[in-house]
């Protein structure tokens, strides 16, 4: 069964072409990448499980080693960019698959995922991967062309992320006072920052870890009133013990 020619190859009107183009040319917003990486990274702040995860993985039995090896390959795709983006040199990234999985334990899978049948069964035998020629996949061509043409994130966004990473790093190293100081600096430097939501989550975590539980709880409640459906909501609850 051969696939028919795509409509965009021979649109019957300019309007049809414009609509199809609009659908194909949608791209992630400039802040979406940072927020996604930060959402994954933020989770690591609360658990600080990377060292534990490394230790845990090293105690795995020899029989499990092959699975770990596969896991490391997989995790490289996710963890390395996150790790590097958060300011760690690529060569020293002590990240394992377990670390990234552990990095988001308190974030429950979305309801839609929980209620739906696990996609794994479909994926395991799925011929889609085999039928997906890597460089020439049309979908990837469409996306990668735009990705290549897309300018890098604005400097201010990188600066914002660096500022938050300083706070995140302090927090994960058990220095919530320094994290709060870094977050104060963030608020001063970026009064209309695009990552203010993420900064607020870090602040709630820093307050909780510095013994200011009541302040953390109040801010958490305020956060949840404004962002009840945020992907960070469960993290905020976890920080504040709600």
């Amino acid at each position: 069964m051969s696939d028919p020619t795509r409509l965009l190859s021979s649109p019957e009107s300019e309007l049809e072409r414009a609509l199809l183009d609009a659908g194909r040319s949608y791209t992630a917003s400039s802040s979406m990448r940072s927020k996604t990486l930060l959402a994954l990274g933020l989770s690591a702040v609360a658990t600080s499980t990377a060292p534990a995860a490394v230790a845990a993985s090293s105690s795995l039995t020899k029989a499990a080693f092959s699975k770990v090896a596969v896991a490391v390959v997989v995790i490289g795709a996710v963890a390395a960019p996150v790790w590097r983006y958060l300011g760690h040199p690529a060569s020293s990234a002590p990240v394992t698959k377990a670390a990234v999985v552990a990095a988001v334990p308190a974030l429950p899978p979305p309801a839609v995922v929980e209620s739906a049948p696990a996609p794994v069964a479909a994926l395991e035998p799925a011929p889609i991967a085999a039928a997906e020629p890597q460089p020439s996949t049309p979908a990837r061509t469409a996306g990668s062309t735009r990705a290549a043409a897309k300018p890098a994130a604005a400097p201010s966004l990188s600066a914002e992320l660096a500022a938050l990473d300083a706070a995140r790093s302090s927090l994960s190293h058990g220095d919530p006072a320094a994290a709060l100081s870094a977050l104060d600096g963030y608020n001063r430097d970026f009064p209309r920052g695009r990552l203010k939501t993420e900064a607020e989550v870090l602040r709630i975590g820093a307050l909780a870890k510095s013994g200011q539980g009541e302040a953390a709880r109040k801010r958490a409640e305020a956060f949840l009133r404004v962002h009840p459906d945020s992907v960070l909501a469960s993290r905020v609850r976890s920080y504040a013990g709600l």
């Binding site: 309007l15 040319s25 949608y26 996604t36 896991a71 995922v113 994926l123």
Partner: protein, 166 residues
């Protein structure tokens, strides 16, 4: 993986019905869900896993939106009658709005196949595997989806010309 598939995930979510304002959050949810399930993902099946997760996210977003509209909104049919000026034809934002309106009116099973084939350029084999339906069903849905899409675009174009010309 985030770098490689961010646009892909965002595009699938948006075209499959996630409202613009919720794409950011659902992109994050999609990647977090996949990060939580890395044990189950074959290294060469990341894209497929992301796609299936994104489609479920979009389905959830559509249901939420539909419930909201039952209370607050309005008739999509009315919105699609918004006059379209000729100079707006190629305006990307306007085209996006019109595409949303056309896609919203398509039956969901047709919309999904249409988006995956026409916008993501997946093959029918890939779509069948992703949706776990026979290839014949994919072919049938695609045929109906394309006809439906073209009918709606023609109607939109016709009403536009009539309004513009009047």
């Amino acid at each position: 993986m985030v770098d490689r598939y961010l646009d892909f995930v965002a595009r699938v979510l948006r075209n499959a019905g996630t409202p613009e304002a919720e794409v950011d959050d659902d992109v994050q949810r999609t990647f977090i869900a996949v990060a939580n399930r890395l044990d189950d993902v074959r290294p060469d099946a990341e894209k497929s896993f992301l796609l299936q997760t994104a489609l479920r996210m979009a389905a959830h977003a559509r249901r939420t939106l539909a419930r909201r509209r039952e209370v607050h909104d309005s008739d999509a049919q009315l919105r699609i009658q918004t006059p379209l000026q000729p100079e707006q034809m190629l305006d990307q934002k306007r085209a996006r709005e019109l595409l949303d309106e056309v896609l919203e009116q398509m039956a969901i099973e047709l919309r999904t196949v249409f988006v995956l084939y026409e916008l993501e350029e997946l093959s029918m084999t890939e779509i069948a595997a992703t949706l776990r339906i026979p290839q014949g069903t994919v072919a049938s849905r695609l045929r109906r989806a394309r006809a439906d899409f073209r009918d709606r675009v023609r109607a939109l174009s016709g009403s536009t010309h009539a309004e513009v010309g009047s």
